[in-house]
Structures are given as C-alpha cells and as structure tokens.
C-alpha cells in the first residue's frame, strides 16, 4: 500500500516534496512615495503598509503598527517587484541537451541559491525570475519560478512554491542543430520539430490511456493486467494536455509560431506563452486570440539566421494587438536593468507608462500564472516591492531598495563590495566565465555536451 502511494505521488507529478519550511515574511510601512500600482493607476504621496509579507493597506496617512519599521519614500517611486519571465539565473544546469524531448527533467532539482546573480537581479529591482531549461530540445525540462530570497541556503526557500508548473519548448534552429545536424536524428528541420511534438503528444495520450486502463483493472478480482512502464517524460506531456502545465516556447519565426498554435489547437492545449517571438508582430492577432501572450526582447536580434527579421517595435505592436506582452532578459546582465528595457517600448512604439511597466510586472505574472499573487501593488497581494530614485522608466532611475514578501533583500546604502554568500576556501580568485555572462544562456551546457560527444562542434553559442 505504501509502495502504491509512492507511485501515485510520483505519477501525480509531485515535485521534490521539500518539507515546506516557512520562508521569511516581513512587515514595513513605506510612506509618502509615488506609488505606481501598475493596475490601479499612480498614487501621489501615498503609503503602503505591509504586514507578514502581504500588502495590507494602500492609502494616505497610514500609521505603522507598533514594531513595524517605517521607511520614508518622499520623492521616491514605489513599484511592484520586477518579474523576469525568461532567465537562467541560479541554475547549476541549464540544458539536458541529449534528447529531443526531456520533459521529465526538473529545474527545481538544480536550483542554486548561492549564485550572486540573484543579488544582482535584486539590485535591479527584480524579485521573481523564471528559471528556465535551455532551448536545445523541442521539449525541454520543467522550469522553476524563483523568488529572490537572497541569503537562503536551501534551494526550496527561493522556489516560489505556490507558482504553477511551467515547461520549456523550443522551435527552429536550436533543436534542429543539436539533434538533427549534431546527432543526425529527428528533428533536422522545422517540419521535424512539429512531428516530434505531435508524436510526443500522441504517445502521451496512449500513455494516459494505458495507465487509466491499468488503474481501473488493478482493483478487480482476478485482474491479469500488468502495470505499464512508468515514463515521467510522457506523464509530463500528458499533464500539459490536461492543462496542468504552462508551455513557454522559445520561438522566432512567424511560421513556426503559427505552427505551434495549430498543434496546441489540435491537442486542446490553451496554456501557451511564446518566448523571444521576434517575428511575433507578423502573427500578433493570432497570438492574442489563442495564447497567454509573448515574452520578448526590447531590441535584440541578428545573432543567427532566424533572428534577422526583427524590429524594436515588436513589443508595442503585440501590445496594441491585445497580446499579453512582457520584456525578458535571458541574461544575467540584462536582468539588472529590465526597467530600462521596458522603457524602450516608449521610444519604439510610444506605449504609456502603465503599458511599459506592465511588461515587467503584471504581464509576466500573468504568463507565469501568478498574477493573483504578485505583479501589482494591490491589497492582499504578496509584498514584492522596489523603491526607485527617479521614475523607473527614466534613464536616470536607480533602484534603492528591493523587498520580497516585505523583507528587504537589497538596500543600495547597505550594499557591500563583496556580497558573495559562499566563498571558496581554496581559490583566491574565483573563476569567471565571461561568455556565459555575455550571451544568452539558452544553450548553456550544450557546447560542453558536444565537446564530450564529438569534439568542438559549436561555433555559434546562442
């Protein structure tokens, strides 16, 4: 019976089963700031009261309950914590590049709470990041949504445990290069990518049926049905079909974006977000109608063939066509100034302040399925907040303090030269890998995989 429970637990897709330790929750009153709620307009000279990690009151002349610290926000801007819908920060492994579908791997298994990138992100006002599997596979691993509780030693404490499951998909050049050109297996072309997806989902349907059959036969007297093979890969694909997991798909070209929309329609999948989406502007109405939106770069392209047809107006076009649009980093460097990236949508497309700010707050929250908890300053939401000197969309904006659940994890006045949590006992200077920092991290670990496999194969990194 116990064994059965264990199997059931695994089949229900229970993750790491970390004992859910209580993460720190803070209380604070921020007074007299310009509060940019994002969803409910801007409030001049207003106060925000946070108790036990939750926004309790937004208004004027609020009093701090006894024992609650008051921070003077006069002349400063208070906005919701920035959310990065595409990042690889704080992951020990990014790519399990070895098979076209690796839906069974879980980024939650390899979260590293010591990575300094988390602190740097906090210094840029980012409180939540979507730590994604890389783009080497048609179906990559399951991602982790992280809350940047810097100083935690337990990975479970920086995983946002109440966020829904998400998974990485990738179309186009990366999976066809790694598997087709690199390993001479399907997919070698965009058509192959679609075939891998359709075959995968079809197999998942069969898998689900086999288990349903076994589970109903198992209890019957004289049952002769033996258990099917356990396959977490297919089980995860079945969970996608059942609407339990949000797909976040790396994509560039309009044709392949439209292809995936059609695949999703055919299999009844509705939880779908496109990542990068450089040609999204060509299929904006379709994306708006059928998906949970697109997460894009502000102005980054031409790093490989499929990313040439691009425009800095992409985000604005998508937004004005009704697509839920977010701006992401995919980089340990860009994550430090996403507010600046969001402001580019005003230069290219003339979006309003609220539209621009929603691209790094409530919109990515919607895409991650956490907009009922974070992404705006509203009573009842989790108190992830940033205080800015200067308007966050101004070129002169500098984040001053960053809070997660009402706990201050970054304060520019208390910023030490050396903020590392973990220092090596045997290395005077720790090695720094410049290329991983400079480029997108989508294909991190893939070149190492290929070097091991058949000599240096990659020239392009992205």
């Amino acid at each position: 019976m116990k064994k059965l429970k264990i199997i059931l637990a695994a089949l229900l897709g229970m993750g790491l089963n970390y004992s859910q330790a209580q993460t720190p929750k803070g209380s604070v009153l921020i007074k007299n700031a310009t509060v940019l709620t994002v969803t409910k307009g801007n409030l001049e000279n207003s106060d925000v009261l946070v108790q036990d990690g939750i926004i309790k009151q937004v208004g004027q002349n609020l009093k701090a309950p006894s024992g609650v610290e008051t921070i003077d926000g006069t002349g400063k801007f208070l906005m919701p914590g920035i959310i990065d819908a595409h990042s690889h920060v704080a992951l020990d492994v990014v790519n399990e590049a070895s098979a076209p579908i690796v839906a069974e791997v879980r980024m939650k298994d390899v979260v590293n709470p010591f990575e300094i990138g988390l602190y740097r992100a906090l210094a840029g006002g980012v409180t939540i990041s979507h730590a994604m599997h890389g783009s080497a596979n048609v179906v990559g691993g399951q991602n982790a949504t992280l809350k940047h509780r810097w100083g935690s030693t337990d990975p479970a404490d920086i995983i946002m445990q109440d966020a829904p499951r998400t998974i990485k998909f990738a179309l186009g050049e990366n999976p066809t290069r790694v598997h087709g050109r690199g390993n001479n297996i399907q997919p070698r072309t965009r058509m192959g990518v679609e075939a891998v997806l359709r075959n995968g989902f079809s197999e998942a349907l069969q898998y689900k049926k086999a288990w349903a059959g076994y589970n109903s036969a198992k209890g019957q007297k004289g049952n002769t049905t033996s258990p099917p093979v356990y396959n977490d890969r297919l089980k995860t694909l079945a969970d996608i079909l059942d609407g339990k997991i949000i797909i976040h798909c790396h994509s560039y070209r309009a044709d392949e974006i439209y292809m995936l929309i059609n695949v999703a329609k055919d299999f009844g999948i509705t939880k779908l977000v496109f990542q990068h989406t450089n040609e999204g502007f060509k299929v904006a109405p379709e994306i708006a109608e059928y998906t949970m939106g697109a997460s894009v770069f502000a102005d980054w392209w031409a790093y490989k063939m499929e990313v040439y047809y691009s425009t800095a107006f992409n985000a604005a076009i998508l937004q004005r066509n009704g697509v839920i649009t977010s701006i992401n980093s995919d980089s340990a460097e860009l994550i430090r100034h996403l507010y600046h990236e969001a402001a580019k949508t005003q230069r290219y497309g003339g979006l309003t302040d609220d539209e621009a700010l929603s691209m790094i707050t409530i919109n990515p929250a919607k895409q991650l399925g956490i907009d009922d908890k974070v992404g705006s300053i509203e009573v009842g939401k989790q108190a992830d907040l940033v205080i800015f000197e200067g308007h966050p969309l101004s070129s002169y904006a500098v984040p001053q303090m960053t809070f997660v659940d009402g706990v201050k994890y970054f304060d520019i006045k208390a910023d030490q030269d050396d903020q590392r949590q973990f220092v090596s006992a045997t290395e005077m200077v720790e090695p720094i890998f410049l290329h991983a920092e400079d480029d997108h991290q989508c294909l991190q670990d893939v070149d190492a995989y290929f070097e091991a496999f058949q000599g240096a194969f990659f020239e392009e990194i992205l």
Binding site: K3, N95, R106, G222, S226, P227, V423
Partner: protein, 564 residues
C-alpha cells in the same frame, strides 16, 4: 556408464588430493606461509575503543580473531611476540565508500546503431548488477598505502557511471586470502552524467534515477502478480531492475556520492520522494546542511581530506589594497570554517565516518589532526575512524573495537595516534602483521643545533635515481658566516671516475636546502638544481636538470662539521 564412473573416480581422486594437500603438505614452495597464526602484542598501551581509558597489557590473536586482551592474558608458546612496550594499539581503521584497490572497467564500445538520446543502460553508466568485488584486487591501486595509513577494512564502491553497481566490504589483509567480508551491501550512485548521451547532466541523472527506481517497483509488482495469478503476461525484469530490486525492497541502502551541500540536498530530496534507505558520502562542503543531516538522520561519510592552504599561503597581505585584504579575509574565514566543519557534525551529535575516495593516503592522519586542531574531539575522531563506520556498514559485531572475539585489526603507533610525531609501526589486518619503517625524528635530533636551526654543514653522501641508472657522490658544505659554500662530486659523464665541482647559490630556507652546480656534458653546460628537505641527518629531494626533468635524490650527513 563406465566412463561416468571413471569420471567420478577421477574427481574423487582429485578431491582427495586437494584435501590431502591442505591437511598434510608441509612444504611451501612459495616460502610465504607464516610460521604461526598466533601473535601477541605484549605490554602495550591499548586504546580498545573511542573514549575508553587506555590500558597497559597484551593482545593475543589467532587466525585473525582476538583471543584475549589485558594484563593477565596467558600467552601460548606458539605465539609470536610483538614487543609493544613503547607502543600504542588502536582498533584498525575502517573507511566507507572508498575506491581502494578498484580498477575501473573499460568503457563499452558504442554499437554502430548507437542513439545518444536513448542509449542502453550499460553504456549510459546504469549498471546496478555490477559488484565492486569484481573490480577489486588486494594488490590493486593504493591498497598498501591505505593499509600503511592504518586502514584495515574498506567498503569499496565500484567505479563507473551514475549507478556503477554494488559495494563490497573488504579486509585489507593478506594477498593470498579471500578478502571479501560482505558483498552487495549497498548500491552506489552519484550525479555524474554520461559523456555525450542521455542523461548527460545532474538534472538528467535525477530524472533517470526516478525512472529506474519507479520501473523497478512496477516490475516487482508485475512479478508478484504473475506469481499469484494465471493469465498474466510474462514479466521481463531487466538486469537493471534485478540489480535495483534490493534497494526498492529497502534491503540495502543507496550510497550517494555528494560533494557539496546542494548535492546532499538533492540526494535527500530523491530519498524523500522515493523512500529508499540513504547513506551520503564524499562530503566536502556541508556546513549549511548540518541541521538537515541531523533531522533526517542520514548516515554520513565525509571526505578524509581538508582543503589545501595554497590560497591562504599565497596571500601577500603587505602589498595588498584594502579591498584585496577584505577578500583575503573572506577566503581565510572560508578556509577556517572548512577545517572546523567536522567539529560541527560532532556538536550536532551526528556520528560520521570517513571516505577515502579521491584522497591521499599519506595525508590521511594529517587531515584528521587538522580537524582535531579545529575543534573535533580526539574521541570523535577515533570513533569516525573505527566504531562509526563499523556501525554505518553494519559490521559492529566483528570490527571497530579491540574486543575478544572481534577481528584482529589494529593500528600500532609510536605515540598517541593524533600527535603529529606519531608514526605507524605495525598494522594488523585480518590477523596478518604488516611492519613499517620508522623514521627517527624528534625535536632533539642531531641534525639540529641547539638554537633550533637545521644543520647542513659537513659531508653528505648522496644517491640519485635517473633514467640512466643510479649514481651518487659526496656533497661538502661549509658555513661561512651566514652563507654556505661547498663542492659536489658526481660521475663523469664522459666516463671514468668522479668529478668535483663547486656549488653555487646555496640557500637554506627552513628545512629546505637548495643549490646549483654546472655539469659539462658533450660541450654543453647544464645547470643542475638540487632541492632537498632535511630531517635530522637525512635529506630527501630532487635533482633537476632543465630540459631533462627532475629525479629523486636522497643524502645522508655522514660527517657533520663540528660546532663550537
């Protein structure tokens, strides 16, 4: 029929022959047989178990079993005596999850139709059916060195991929005995991905581990159903599932090799999810998980090694800027914390053992001494070397302490074992006695003059081992004020006799003496550098020649100069 009878007869004859030989043969052409199997260590200081007061007395053992211990043990006539008057006797050390004597099996050749996204288990490093016994040899890699360091029992892991196979417990005894104590005592696992195939990374390994485990559970269910019900399809247990069965049935634990705190957490999370018994080994950095280890009660084997001090030693605080100094301090703090980690385990009440995998036998005791200097108690240190691993490995009944009826495994040292000056003189493993040379070195050795400085002046006789053979000569060093000068003699490269030449750049730094001389060989002048560490009247070091490499050299101070 006749033939069969004949065969049986032959077999019978052969059997008789074998039996007769065991029982009667007196001659031993190898000359290796012992004169007696009975030994006694007499009048020694005996530390029978961690935390117990030392007693003075004798230890009698025969055929690898302790017969008696104490001051009043009757010593039979056939007992060979080991005088222990100035010696200290400890239980033989035990390590868990070692690689002593293990040779990694050859990687399989990839088949022509190899698919890297779905390789066979065996190629992907999933070989739970393999046994460390098949990879172990008592004459193998480092067994002698580890025995010399005091280790008498080693649980060895097989070498291989993410699930390399099952552990065996070996006694490091005689090379003609069967030295297996227990086989298949645990399943080895780690987070190593396979090169260029699935699973290639730690995240893939964790997914694959779940897959292997769950499918073993299901295969066992299937077998049970098949056994009880007619009409069920035939179960096909794969070798992997057969190899994993004992783990899934919780008969044996999984020994997960985890270096860091994060890896320890990963192994523990897999355990919580799947429910197997777990032992963690190889921990190097575990300060942040001490509480977790305590609360989960997972047995722990830490790496028998302390971090090297190269980073600390290379700090040049005098010329450093304030920012650099702050960084120095953090590295220093990290280093000190790393040394004190073992003591944190003791404070938390976690009984841990050591793993010798990937560590140096020569540095083993030094590592333990460093842990003691940084807060670990001597009692806990001895327990970590003896009783704790015995308990973790499930062999407490026969090993871990010096008690009547237990295995005759001892470490016999010249001083209390955790003193820096202690040297191991004998190791007894499985009742076999191994003797080691004791280097004479004490603070009052002759090589040092009264003010504590090393004395080098006088005539040294040296030998060096080069690819061309062994050669040697004399080094004469004279002291003039604070400087040294002298001559060296060596074999004439052009043959015939010795040449003597002056030595240059002589410097004595602590105990290390370095100097150079020039050799004229075939018209070329080569500079030879000698560097040696002096201990008493002996010097051990290297002779190096640019372009040719360096060769071991040793020397003895035969005629010290008189000091006034």
């Amino acid at each position: 029929m006749k033939r069969q009878f004949l065969k049986a007869g032959m077999a019978g004859l052969l059997m008789t022959g074998i039996l007769a030989q065991t029982a009667w043969a007196q001659s031993d052409p190898t000359g290796k047989r012992r004169v007696t199997e009975t030994y006694a260590i007499t009048n020694a200081t005996i530390f029978a178990s961690p935390g117990q007061q030392a007693t003075k007395g004798s230890v009698l053992f025969r055929d690898g079993v302790i017969l008696g211990i104490g001051a009043n043990v009757q010593l039979p006539k056939e007992a060979q005596l080991i005088p222990g008057d100035s010696l200290y006797v400890y239980p033989g050390f035990i390590d868990g999850a070692g690689l002593t004597g293990i040779t990694k099996p050859k990687d399989l050749e990839r088949p022509k139709d190899f698919v890297s996204s779905a390789p066979s288990d065996e190629i992907a490093g999933i070989t739970p059916w393999r046994s460390a016994s098949d990879q172990f040899s008592i004459s193998g890699n480092q067994v002698d060195d580890w025995r010399k360091a005091g280790f008498t029992i080693s649980q060895v892991l097989p070498d291989g991929g993410m699930i390399p196979g099952k552990a065996s417990i070996m006694v490091l005894g005689n090379d003609r005995s069967v030295n297996v104590l227990l086989e298949n005592t645990a399943l080895a696992a780690n987070f190593k991905g396979s090169r260029g195939m699935y699973p290639a990374t730690a995240v893939g390994v964790m997914a694959k581990f779940r897959d292997v485990y769950q499918n073993t559970t299901l295969a066992l269910d299937h077998s049970k159903l098949y056994a009880s019900t007619a009409g069920v399809s035939r179960p096909e247990m794969t070798p992997t599932q057969t190899g994993m069965a004992a783990v899934v049935q919780k008969q044996i634990p999984v020994i997960f090799t985890v270096e860091s705190d994060l890896e320890a957490r990963r192994a523990i999370s897999l355990q919580k999810e799947l429910g197997f018994k777990l032992i963690l080994t190889g921990l190097e950095n575990y300060e942040t998980v001490v509480d977790l280890l305590k609360s989960t009660g997972v047995p722990v084997l830490i790496k028998l090694q302390v971090p090297d001090d190269k980073a600390i030693k290379s700090q040049k605080a005098d010329s450093a800027s304030v920012a650099t100094k702050a960084q120095y301090d953090r590295v220093k703090e990290a280093y000190e914390k790393a040394l004190a980690q073992a003591s944190l385990l003791e404070k938390a009440g976690i009984s841990f053992g050591f793993s010798t995998a990937d560590t140096k036998p020569g540095d083993a005791l030094k590592a333990v001494q460093a842990m003691i200097k940084n807060g670990l108690s001597e009692k806990a240190a001895l327990a970590a070397l003896t009783t704790n691993p015995a308990q973790i490995l499930g062999i407490s009944r026969v090993a871990g302490t010096i008690e009547k009826g237990k295995m005759a495994n001892f470490v016999i040292s010249t001083d209390s074992i955790f003193k820096e000056s202690a040297q191991i003189k004998h190791v007894v493993a499985d009742g076999y006695v191994f003797d080691y040379e004791i280097k004479k070195k004490t603070a009052k050795e002759n090589g040092k003059s009264d003010n504590g400085a090393v004395k080098v002046d006088g005539v040294w006789e040296y030998t060096s081992e080069t690819p061309a053979g062994s050669s040697g000569g004399e080094i004469t060093i004279t002291k003039e004020g604070d400087d040294y000068s002298g001559t060296i003699s060596y074999d004439d490269p052009s043959g015939g006799g010795k040449i003597s030449t002056p030595i240059k750049n002589v410097s004595l730094n602590g105990k290390t003496l370095t100097f150079e001389f020039e050799v004229n060989a075939g018209g070329n002048t080569l500079t030879v550098t000698i560097s040696g560490e002096i201990s008493g009247k002996e010097m051990d070091g290297t002779m190096s020649v640019a372009q040719f490499g360096s060769f071991p050299m040793s020397a003895k101070l035969t005629t010290p100069s008189l000091t006034f």
